[in-house]
């Protein structure tokens, strides 16, 4: 009797379980069909469609001024070959408050007038072009201010400059070391006035013996930070 009862209950459970599982399979299929039919935008249950415009927060960029580009003019005295005007361009990158790297290109002329006067011409022509370029490392020191009158103060700084470059005239290239110092004054944050004195040293054998030539250069210039 008891066994029969348990059997009945078990069969009932099995039958119910079977139908229940069948139903769930069917219903899930129905749902899948429904999902496919409904367009995505009108998903059921979503009452308000969010229509939020994203705010574009644009923070103004900070203007960095680490590049300096400028022109200079000066006097270059080439050992044995006279002193002439020199014109140049330069560009510097300020790596830190202490150091800057600089590239410069300049043109000048040389003359052998003195040798011609005693009948010993050295150059094909009395006046020959001179090209100079260099790459330098600069170090700022003695920062301070320059005062003009009673109302105007300009920040200033001295600098040492050491460079390696090339001097070319009458088809000869000479590796040139430059050593110098200068004063940089800033009337405006973006504008620089520079006075510089340099010794450009190269080795030359133009006059017979190989010798180190010291070529003094003095220049003034201006440059712009950007």
């Amino acid at each position: 009797m008891l066994n029969q009862g348990i059997c009945k209950i078990l069969t009932l459970v099995l039958v119910i379980g079977f139908f229940a599982s069948g139903c769930s399979v069917l219903s899930s299929r129905d749902k899948q069909d429904e999902k496919q039919e409904l367009p995505m935008e009108e998903a059921p249950g979503q009452v308000i469609a969010p229509d939020v415009e994203r705010r574009d927060i644009s923070v103004p960029k900070i203007d960095t001024e680490n590049w300096e580009i400028g022109l200079y003019v000066g006097v270059l005295s080439v050992d044995d070959f006279g002193s002439r005007a020199i014109y140049g361009v330069r560009a510097a990158y300020h790596v830190s408050e202490d150091f800057f790297l600089e590239g410069a290109y300049a043109r000048s002329t040389v003359e052998d007038t003195n040798f011609r006067d005693i009948g010993l011409p050295i150059f094909p022509n009395e006046e020959e072009d001179l090209n100079f370029y260099s790459f330098s490392l600069g170090y700022n020191f003695l920062p301070g201010e320059v005062f003009v009158g009673t109302k105007w103060a300009m920040t200033s700084s001295m600098y040492f400059i050491f460079g390696v470059g090339n001097t070319e005239f009458i088809g000869e290239d000479d590796l040139t070391y430059s050593l110098g110092f200068g004063l940089r004054v800033l009337p405006r944050d973006y504008l620089t006035l520079r006075i510089e004195a340099k010794d450009n040293i190269f080795e030359s054998d133009l006059l017979g013996t190989n010798d180190y030539k010291h070529n003094l250069e003095f220049n003034i210039g201006f440059s712009v930070f950007f």
């Binding site: 900070i62 960095t64 408050e97 202490d98 790459f135």
Partner: protein, 242 residues
């Protein structure tokens, strides 16, 4: 009347639009304003905690700011970091880091060296395509006792350990070699030839934007059909990256 006032109000930001600056609020008890962008310049004014300043410009690690009262001066980066932005978060003026070095693309530099016993000067620009491959353009000038040469070469570098501070590389390239004898020499001829380049080198990341580099390159100059010349080029220099 009201509309005119409104128009004026609308115009003001437009007029100021050209000079819109980032604003930050001072968190330190005082923010020192120096006269110039460097530690040697004296601090002559201060801005107190809670005040807002506008950032006008930056030079290396120094920022030029203007306070609400119109005080202007230069502030060091470490102090700028102790400020809040308008969004209320701490401003991060980060330094150039090792990560920037690893993500660098463009690199420029110069080097001095010896080319077959003569002194040389090189300018170079390189572009990093990915972690391992770098392309580089070299312009060298050699000033010798008897002649001077100009070399231009285009190289491909393989850097297997480019994520290290010290990164060696192999170099392969080609270029052009031009040699002009000194004006004082008699009966000398110019040489102009194609050259193949093979070499090894080392990049050492120093600090900030600086890289120290050492290179050894071997140039095979193909002067004519049955004559090749080989030159060794040692270089040391430094580069910086953007």
């Amino acid at each position: 009347m009201k509309s005119i006032r409104l128009a004026c109000l609308l115009l003001i930001p437009l007029m100021l639009g050209a000079t819109a600056y980032q604003r930050v609020q001072v968190l330190d008890p005082y923010m020192d304003l120096h006269t110039g962008p460097g530690r040697g310049f004296p601090a002559v004014q201060v801005v107190e905690r809670g005040e807002w300043v506008e950032i006008l410009k930056r030079k290396t690690d120094w920022f030029k700011v203007r306070s609400e009262q119109g005080k202007e001066g230069w502030v060091r980066r470490s102090q700028m970091e102790k400020t809040l932005t308008e969004a209320g978060v701490e401003k991060n003026f980060r330094d150039v880091l090792m990560d920037d070095y690893l993500n660098r693309r463009l690199e420029m530099g110069f080097a001095a060296g010896r080319f077959d016993g003569d002194s040389s000067l090189t300018v170079r620009t390189s572009y990093r395509f990915n972690n391992y491959i770098i392309g580089e353009l070299n312009l060298s000038q050699v000033s010798g006792d008897f002649s001077s040469s100009r070399i231009i070469d285009l190289n491909l570098q393989i850097a297997p350990y480019s994520d290290n501070r010290i990164s060696p590389y192999f170099n392969l390239g080609f270029g052009h070699f031009k040699n002009e004898p000194r004006a004082t020499l008699v009966n000398a001829v110019d040489t102009s030839a194609t050259t193949a380049v093979v070499g090894v080198g080392l990049r050492i990341y120093l600090t900030r934007r600086f890289i120290v580099r050492a290179d050894y390159k071997d140039y095979v100059v193909m002067i004519d059909a049955d004559r090749n010349e080989e030159f060794q080029h040692w270089m040391a220099g430094f580069s910086f990256f953007f």
